[in-house]
Every structure is written in structure tokens, then in C-alpha cells.
Amino acid sequence: MSRSEFELFIKEQQEPLRRFLLNLSGGNHTLSDDVAQEAFIKAYLGLSTFQGRSKMSTWLFKIAYNCFYDVIRKNKFETENGLHDIEKLKSSLIDDGYSADESFKDQELYIALSHLKEQEKAIILLFYMEDKNIKEISAITGIEQNTIKSHLSRGRAHLKDYLTTIGYEYKR
């Protein structure tokens, strides 16, 4: 893959990857973009190690997923099971230049996601938001397919409970 082909790959993949990391980090734009950048660089430098057993986008997500948790471990971010402080979230979103409507929607999403355990969150995001299938999720997270199905089922139940609590209705 040439440099220009890789740049095309960045253009195609930056949005889903950054969105995944943004939602995984609970709306931390700086962290998600830093990790996305690091993942792209690692992928670029490691192009020779890509064996083509999975899609290149899956490989990139795997790198980003590992980078993200490396950073979390290093910095001891307290995201596990923790509800983000709503006021903090609100101010960070407004600071990022979001419209009130967008920031409200994002808040709603981050709060819903904060009701999930870390692995459930990642799996639910990959499955519902990024349309990855079980096999791809397994390749990205390194978790067995059956375990993913269990996480998915539990995460779905938690989310459904939460959405019912807030009175979210399914609209066709």
C-alpha cells in the first residue's frame, strides 16, 4: 500500500474510528483524537505486519482499541462503571463548539453508555454504532465470539432498562 492509498484509507476510516473512540471515552475529544492518531501512525508503520486475514478497517480498530486501553491503564482514567459527571460533560461539549441540540444528544448517549461495563460498552458500540459483526468484534477486542454474544445480551438488557427508565420510545 502506497502513501496515497494509506491517506485514502485515513479519509475513509477516520470518522468511524474517531466516533468509536469518542463514545468509548465518554465524549473526551482530545483523548479520542490522540488515540485515533496514534492508531493510524501505528498502522502506517506496521503495514508490513498486516497479513490480510481480516479487513484492514478491523485491523485498524484493533490497534486503536489496544491503544485506547493502554492509555487508560497508563493514565488510570476512571471510566470503569463510573457515571461521568454531567456538568463536566456539558461544559466540555459546549467548549468544543457543539450546538446545544448536538451536545444534548451526545450527553444522552454518553449517559446511556455509562450504564454499561467497559467491555459491554465497547461491544455495544461496535455492534450498533459501527455495524461490526460478531466475528469482527472478536478480532478487534480479542474476546471469544461466545463471550461477545453474552456481553451483547447483557449490555442490551442494561440499555433497554435504562431507555425504558428515561421513557425513550422507538420511532419508526
Binding site: E7, F40, L159, K160
Partner: protein, 115 residues
């Protein structure tokens, strides 16, 4: 189990953010200039052993009359379906077809035709 729950799917669909990538792409592209060009392993360069043994195999096969023997037994199967054939005839056909498939795979792999 793997089907998407409509309510949750709807929730994620309506909350899917679109992220502008112009600045990110530009910054990343500039950043990549500081990194060395990735070295793509030339598998072909390391595969001399494959060429060597393929060549050796072909020479030995021809030298010991394998090719003519194979043709001798395989051709009747292709020429006439009505005459009875022995196990040797069918074996020769199978070996022949396997060799053709092997050759195609070899060509695809060596010349990277699938990339």
C-alpha cells in the same frame, strides 16, 4: 442473538455523530511526513526456495517420464466416456487436475495477482 434490537438500534442511529475529518486528516498527513516510509515485506524476494523446488519438481517429473505416463492414462478419460476406465485412469486425471490447480495457485501467489 445476533439480530439488532430495534429500540436500541434506533437509539444509536439517532445519536450517531458525524465527525468532520478535514483538520484531522491534514494534521495526520503532515505528521506522517516525519515517519519513515513503511517497509512492505517482499515475500516474493524470500520465496526463492519455492521457485527452486518447483523447478526441481518439474525436472524430476519430466525426467522420470511422469508427464508422459500421466497423459497416457489421463487422455482416454477425456477422449472417450463410453469405454471402461480403470482406477489408474481416474487417478491420473485427479493428479493432473490437482497439478493444474497447484500451478494456478503458484502463479497467483508468485505474481501477487490477487493483490
Amino acid at each position: 442473538m445476533n439480530t439488532k434490537d430495534k429500540k436500541i438500534n434506533n437509539f444509536f442511529d439517532s445519536h450517531k455523530q458525524s465527525i468532520d475529518g478535514e483538520d484531522f486528516n491534514k494534521k495526520l498527513s503532515e505528521l506522517l511526513n516525519y515517519y519513515p516510509k513503511p517497509v512492505i515485506k517482499q515475500r516474493r524476494a524470500n520465496s526463492w526456495i519455492i521457485h527452486l523446488f518447483t523447478l526441481l519438481g518439474l525436472i524430476l517429473f519430466t525426467f522420470f517420464g511422469g508427464a508422459s505416463l500421466l497423459f497416457e492414462y489421463a487422455i482416454p478419460v477425456f477422449v472417450s466416456y463410453s469405454t471402461p476406465h480403470t482406477i489408474y485412469n481416474y487417478s491420473a486425471v485427479i493428479i493432473m487436475l490437482s497439478m493444474v490447480a497447484g500451478m494456478i495457485l503458484y502463479i497467483v501467489k508468485v505474481f501477487d495477482l490477487n493483490s
